[in-house]
Symmetry: C2
Subunit: 418 residues, 2 copies
């Protein structure tokens, strides 16, 4: 049992923050026991850590991030999707054929993710088994809850990134077998997206999905170009999402669909049917994709939505920045397409980045009693001329904070050092 004193903020529900100023939280083993304004007598002998005016919030979840593109973040951002893939992204991913290069890059990626408060993540690797194995081992060892996928693609990719479908399935099965028992970071099926996968490959992954009860992540209707390609290449399907449904990929572990910017009614119906998560990646949306998810509308229709940094279409690895950007973009969407969206609120954006996504990772993303205590302490955001309220600290952190404002990090109830 340990006690922490701080201002405490988490999502009560989609629309409201729970705010406990100047309060005590008790953590027993890895779970929250309770929160009180005055510490109950029975806990007075437990060790106490006092963060003063620091604000305790749940750790963040990044539901869509490409680890191998970490080295490209904030570079070549003048390009749009197709050019950006060809000129910037695929050449970088090809370098992960070299395990030594991958090791150096992935170590930096994992460290920076944790430094920025992300402790739960759905991560894309490359097609390379050795490099992706290093990544999942590293994340598991660091305690990050989530998923890593070896990417599958067998067409419309450069020669050095295009797989033979049989070999792709074989390598993926080895990856699933080897890491399915991981404690923290587990394997996830990762057909990159419709334009780079044949029906043969996707059906093969469907068999693996059923055999291993595996989760699946892919890019869904992320651009008009991609949605059109999906229809052209899979004419038997009414929509992009149906490509995966037909292969039986939606019926196993959790399904996470990146972007979901141009969904048809069929896309939405299938996603809801299987209780899938769509991922809003605001910065990526305005940098290489162009288009904005109708987040407000989809939330109101009951779709599950989380946030993603989408490194390196998105440039910032901190999911907190994407909570702010999600609010901003919802206003633009409302301005340009008033019939198809409403603006979202900051509490909604924060909820997507924490409590809503945390359900994917074993009951974390909140600080309510019973939640697994993955948490951050935020500080240094008030001014000499203005002391902020706890909820103001959280909003300002998402708008202008940096990893320097994260003064402490807890994972499974234990403080992280270094």
């Amino acid at each position: 049992m340990q006690i922490i004193h701080a201002d405490i903020v988490y999502s009560e529900d989609r629309e409201h923050l729970a705010v406990h100023p100047d309060s005590y939280i008790a953590v027993e083993k890895e779970k929250v026991k309770g929160i009180w304004p005055v510490l109950p007598e029975e806990y007075k002998s437990a060790p106490l850590t006092d963060y003063g005016d620091g604000v305790l919030i749940p750790a963040l979840s990044d539901l869509h991030v490409h680890a191998p593109q970490y080295l490209n973040r904030g570079l070549e951002m003048d390009l749009l999707l197709a050019d950006w893939l060809d000129q910037c992204t695929f050449p970088m991913e090809a370098k992960y054929a070299d395990p030594e290069f991958a090791k150096l890059a992935y170590d930096a990626f994992v460290d920076d993710m944790i430094a920025n408060g992300t402790m739960h993540a759905c991560v894309y690797g490359t097609i390379h088994s050795e490099a992706t194995s290093y990544l999942i081992e590293r994340m598991d060892q660091k305690g990050i809850k989530g998923f890593v996928g070896k990417i599958n693609m067998d067409r419309s990719a450069p020669d050095d990134l295009r797989e033979d479908p049989d070999e792709s399935i074989r390598e993926t099965e080895i990856f699933l077998e080897k890491y399915s028992k991981n404690r923290n970071t587990r394997p996830i099926l990762t057909p990159r997206f419709a334009p780079t996968c044949t029906r043969e490959l996707i059906n093969g992954l469907g068999k693996l999905g059923r055999k291993y009860n595996a989760a699946m992540q892919t890019h869904l209707v992320e651009s008009l170009w991609e949605a059109e390609q999906a229809r052209l290449l899979f004419p038997e399907c009414s929509c992009d999402t149906e490509i995966y449904e037909r292969a039986g990929l939606m019926e196993n572990g959790p399904v996470i669909g990146g972007h979901f910017i141009f969904p048809s009614e069929d896309d939405i119906r299938i996603m809801k049917k299987y209780d899938c998560y769509a991922v809003h990646c605001p910065d990526a949306t305005i940098s290489v994709i162009a288009g904005i998810m109708k987040t407000g509308t989809l939330l109101d229709r009951g779709l599950k939505i989380g946030l993603g940094s989408d490194i390196s279409a998105g440039h910032h690895i901190g999911v907190y920045t994407q909570a702010a950007r999600a609010v901003q973009l919802s206003k633009l969407k409302q301005f340009y397409e008033p019939d198809d969206n409403r603006k979202i609120t900051f509490p909604e954006a924060f909820w997507m980045a924490t409590k809503q996504s945390g359900k994917l990772f074993g009951g974390t993303g909140s600080l309510e009693p019973g939640a697994v205590f993955d948490a951050l302490v935020i500080d240094g955001l008030s001014d000499a001329a203005r002391k902020l309220t706890p909820e103001q600290v959280v909003e300002r952190f998402c708008y202008i904070g940096t990893k320097e404002n994260i003064k402490a990090r807890y994972m499974n109830g234990e403080v992280l050092f270094g």
Copy 2:
């Protein structure tokens, strides 16, 4: 004479960066003498500062920023313009009736601006003479080149921020007289915007403009609401900009028009006729205003455009972040209004934030020979697995850099400490 060794990057012209890797720059008094890959014999006895892999860039210009709103940055960002003014901005500005409060807030504002590399700025104060006098004195003393305006407004504002027009003119003239001879930071006429100014007030400012040959800043067609208000309240004018033209406010010092998101052909014609600057404030645009400047189109038509942080409609005081955001938003504008815009490039955005705006402040914003040496050294952005080129460092700095990446600051050829 002093010599600095670094990678050197500045805008050659609107479309191109000049890049001098591993080079020497000579600075004589406050001006750049030249740049060489090998230090000429004649300069070898001059004192040398070596920044190694650091990248030397021009200091940044912020053409639209509200100093009193600094304490609101990153807060109450769920609101849109009219509500945001009433509930968030006006109540904060009213506090600057208290000079002691203003002093504390403005000290923090000026320090943070310099910390983030802004050395040239067009700044809005409040209606309060004493607080605004402190602000201009503080900026002048710190060496910031630019302008500070006492805001004028005599209608449609809360009681404690609404002036009598005669008193507003009288106080403004005292402000102009007192600070017109300042070395660095000079006064600028600042009618807030059409909805809060009567014709009587604007005409009075016009007389002051001619008498003191004063610069002028205001908000121009920043929202559909504001453009409509301008037409309703000044039915004799064909457009928002004509309100100021008719008062003779465009004929004196420089004119800086904030936002310029919904200009008519008349607005554009008048702005070009008087060689005015429009200011693109991307984050403000997507947070409280909604709408995107057609930056590409206006640049191609020869309008002068700079960038503004627009604290606190914009949340980040670093203009470098707005260079990145300007590129992002130009893509969205192209997506939603393909006939009315093209996407801009990173070199164009950087040029707006440096060389193009620097012309307003006495020949700075560049590192070419003859330029006044206001400069920053950027570092700490490469990865162990990837050393960036100098231009990549600059792009990444604008996308994910922080003030911590600014390792040194030069103003008029002298390094700043602390």
